[in-house]
Amino acid sequence: MRVSDERGFGLILLITLIAIASIFISGTTIFVTNAARETQLKTDRAKAASLAQAGLLQALHNWRVSNASEASRTYSELNATVTGAQGYQTGTQADFAYFTFDSPANAFWSGSNTLAGWTIRNIHSASATPLSNLTVKQAIVSWTPQGNASRRLSRIRLNGTPVYNASAPNGALIPLTGSAAARTLAPGASWTGNNTDLRWSGALPSPVRVTVQWIFQDDSSTVRSRSHSVVYWDGAQANAATATAARPSRHTFSIVATGRVSETTKLPRVLSTVKATVSGNAAGGFMEIIDWDGVDQNLFS
């Protein structure tokens, strides 16, 4: 009986060894594969971030060479392949809102409760659609210091047409009203002049810092549809004729550029998005990137 029990023992031992070896090899395979995938994602992120910068600078180049005069420069959204399955894209409505406070009009205070004369220009070239029009949907208006605790924003007008007429606290998200036409800028058009203003329920303190962020119609649930937070005034209140550093001299706009790296030419694997705030009138004819924020997305892992 003892000898008979040994039959098949070697085979069982072999199967057991193979099973143990399989587990070991599988574990090693998974470990090495995951490490390789992680390395690939890291390298793709680095590629995509560099490509996003490329897209941003290409857009700025297009804007800069479109016209010798800053007041007439435009550009349009981009979707380009740099090499193989690597490329970049730019363009949301927020990318084409250009903010000025000393040209063509001077921003100024009227009656200590109204900040008027600021300008938003649509700098999209008219050649491309559907992003060529700019439509604002919401706004966030903030002021520091608060001053009177009951002070509220009571009105926003664009070229004389009210798009908000109610009572909004400091920093609130304000849904704009009125017709879409009144909230829309065609390429090259502006909201500007004495009848483009923000009005409060009473006098604001002086000095005061006022900032506004505009949210556009195209994709209002994401930061991509938002302008940068634009300083409209920072200092003692003054009229239109007064030369004052409180009136922003930077002419600014924001650009969102996304670098993409794909496994094929169709499917993006990694996206890296940068949102840059640009000063278009820096000294010496330079364009200056004054703020930069980046986000990476791994679409497949």
């Binding site: 000898v3 070697g10 085979l11 490509l51 490329a54 290409q58 180049h61």
Partner: protein
């Protein structure tokens, strides 16, 4: 009964050796391939870190120093096993001159041909865009 049992054990032993040799042979080849992939992944990770370092240096460099053409950059002292090359070409020029340039940082093994490099990062630089301090 005893005789028969002993014979079967010998056959089993031979089978074990034969099958074990096949399995071990496959496993060794597989392990070699895994090791090769692991080494390549590690080298690629090092190469991309070197590329990012050199790209950051290119971003910080004055535009006038980014002349077109290929230039072999000095080795990083801690990583003598890699060669680094900077490739610069004009993307667009305009009056002024206003110039947009493409900058490639390419990393390969030391002595490599850069035909199939370990790492390549691509970006653009513009002579009239500078990165300010936000002030």
């Amino acid at each position: 009964m005893k005789k028969s049992s002993a014979g079967v054990t010998l056959i089993e032993l031979i089978l074990i050796i034969a099958i074990g040799a096949v399995v071990t042979g496959g496993a060794v080849r597989f392990a070699v391939e895994l090791t090769r992939q692991g080494i390549r992944a590690r080298d690629a990770a090092v190469a991309y870190n070197l590329a990012r370092l050199k790209m950051a240096e290119a971003d910080a460099a004055d535009f006038s120093t980014l002349t077109t053409g290929n230039a072999v950059l000095p080795d990083e002292a801690s990583f003598p096993g890699y060669d680094i090359r900077r490739e610069i070409s004009d993307v667009a020029t305009a009056a002024g001159p206003i110039t947009l340039r493409r900058v490639d940082i390419v990393v390969d093994y030391a002595g490599g041909t850069f035909a199939s490099p370990l790492a390549r990062l691509i970006t653009y630089r513009h002579n009239l865009v500078r990165f300010g301090d936000g002030a």
